[in-house]
Symmetry: C2
Subunit: 152 residues, 2 copies
Amino acid sequence: MSFPARTNTAEIELGATLQPKFGSDGLIPCITQDIATGQVLMFAFMNAESLQHTLTTKKATYWSRSRNKLWCKGEESGNIQWVKELYTDCDQDVLLIKVEQTGAANASCHNGYKSCFYRQLESLDEAATGTNFKLAFNSQPLFDPKEVYKKK
Amino acid sequence: MSFPARTNTAEIELGATLQPKFGSDGLIPCITQDIATGQVLMFAFMNAESLQHTLTTKKATYWSRSRNKLWCKGEESGNIQWVKELYTDCDQDVLLIKVEQTGAANASCHNGYKSCFYRQLESLDEAATGTNFKLAFNSQPLFDPKEVYKKK
């Protein structure tokens, strides 16, 4: 599969054809959102091959930069993300997918949390003074990573 | 302001201190979400200076890679994003901010839309066959960019 080539700014920004920009490393950032709740579940990268795999299987598939391979989310943990909608931004250098997060634990993060964004600054005001950068956990893990990602 | 240094994987992933990873280019990706609706408004990058400016002013401030300068969102258009919460992901190489989007037009995108993600694939199934990559607009612009970003 080849995606439509990038044309010009007007077409890219206000046109009606997907013209994704894969960077010089071949990657495009992808934000993944839970379609039911709007919660941002994770952020990762796709290359052309993983975008194609995502479209043909409807399973969110990223490119793992650490493992340097196609990464079909949930292939190991069972927590598959079924893609329901795919958006692009104004200059088409970012993708956003809305997914139905499935699996026994229904979690996105390898640490067992529903979303990778399970910590937030406790106090913006104190961080602003440079004195306190403490993070507060906003949720509990839904599975034990040690159990799910067993050594094979 | 200096942010806490990166320590080790356990502390970064499961600890309670913000240890943001600015890449080799000094940047960290940032997802911006409307705190009231959960809508993803935009995606941009921050460097340490813009994160500091964001914290001290509570106005979302990014690093413009195209203009190579600090970019306090809304300084030109008036559509300021007031930061209410700041999250980081498991490996702390992405930020997520939840904002109150303000301004006359209450829009994030320079093309006048509430969110930069104003287009979505019309049909995942047809895109999967490689025959149709048509985008559907999911909203209307809230302001006319020609009026707001006047040549000075």
